[in-house]
Subunit: 258 residues, 2 copies
């Protein structure tokens, strides 16, 4: 059991928590809590760290997964945890990368393309809903929030391990490539010509979702094949970005089921 | 200008921030930020408080609304604000109550009924989306999160002023009353018999949405006329509660538009 904060592994964990750049270099991210531990495929866990109390109570769950695990005293665990009330389990998880070709070449592609999305909760919720709706991949402009942000990971409820995603160096330049794969792109836009449910999404489709405050950039909207909008009653100017994405995704899901 | 934290109004504001019970007794809630100030009807603002810096820059916006306003020095404002980086405007807003009869008696009722919903962001997002989808009222079990929680209010983006809502003393006992108003109730449930898009929602309808972690209570589900579910691909067990609500609401909106 590690009982000193001077321990090299403890120092390394603290650095990983603090420095996004280090996590990038190491090709890892951190997860915390029992629920996320259970969702994580064993082969993706580089190392698990558990508090003494957690280990006493949940030893079986840790051992069943057959991953390399280290026990930390409760007070040391508190120092490496990013949460206020730590559950007592934290893992270093290896990242998995997808190629553009893998994502675009899916059968009946159904893509979500996110332009400068900033809220971690929104990105996580989009991943979770996307898996539920049958989305085949998520593409993000490189200025979107970091998908390995702990808040994103938590709100995906495990979809982070199952939903293919990629960051694009240049979203505008990429968009014309969709045509080569027979994918029609739809910009969710407040000034869309058609309601979202007036289009046919049974063939390859991709939806462009913009930033929470500013919506989709004009340069990006201009590159989309069609502009669609979600009708709104009352004085609502726009929906939350994740909500708008979810409504579109489930319309595709509905059409493809019929 | 108020420059001392010993000032009675400053002390009163600090008490209002801290004590939900005092806000209840006074029949008020607090809002912060320019966006919420703009969304708030002038007649609902009991008093506005602005920081010196805010007043220098945005004097016009405050004066145009013709509300009673008080200027606080920047340092005093920071003490009364609940946010880390205060925008410099905070208001005491009077609550508005709706009766059950007002909500149930709406034309073509389209209701959302929330059972023990706990996340402020979810409740706020449901209100915002509900207004957009044309919902006529929201009913909440009394153990739902406080709708006057600042996080709820912020995420409604102003819908708090426009969406009728009520807390119910006893949700289970209330449900049979829906029939008297010709309203069919649908429980969103993972074990629903039909997909949500296989029902007809053009007549009076009400949707029951459960707690984030535990879903709808069995006693509540049992009282619903129909159980419906949202289909899910992959390994997704459930959707975020606000997302599930939004998908249902926009299906009603879609059907009623046809």
């Amino acid at each position: 059991m590690i009982t000193s904060t001077g321990n090299a592994q403890v120092k390394y964990l603290q650095q990983l928590q603090k420095k996004g750049k280090l996590r990038d270099e190491e090709g890892v991210f951190l997860i915390e809590g029992l629920r996320m531990f259970e969702e994580t495929p064993a082969e993706r866990i580089r190392k698990a760290y558990v508090s003494e109390t957690f280990y006493q109570k949940q030893r079986k769950i840790v051992e069943e997964k057959q991953v390399s695990a280290e026990i930390l005293s409760d007070s040391v665990f508190e120092r490496v945890s990013a949460t206020k009330t730590p559950q007592g389990i934290l893992c270093i998880v290896t990242r998995r990368e997808w190629t553009k070709e893998e994502i675009l070449g899916a059968e009946h592609p159904f893509l979500m393309i996110l332009d400068n999305l900033q809220d971690p909760g929104n990105l996580g919720t989009i991943l979770r809903t996307a898996e539920g709706a049958g989305v085949t991949g998520i593409l993000m402009s490189k200025d979107c929030v970091d998908i390995y942000n702990p808040k994103v990971i938590r709100s995906t409820m495990g979809s982070i391990y199952r939903m293919p995603f990629i960051y694009l160096e240049n979203l505008e330049e990429f968009l014309p490539e969709l045509k080569e794969y027979g994918i029609t792109s739809y910009a969710a836009h407040l000034e869309g010509e058609h309601f979202y449910d007036e289009e046919n999404y049974t063939d390859g489709c991709a939806f462009l979702i913009g930033n929470e405050g500013n919506g989709l950039r004009a340069e990006v909207t201009a590159k989309a094949d069609r502009k669609i909008r979600i009708p709104m009653h009352g004085q609502v100017e726009s929906l939350n970005a994740a909500m708008a994405a979810g409504i579109l995704m489930y319309e595709v899901c509905r059409q493809r089921r019929k």
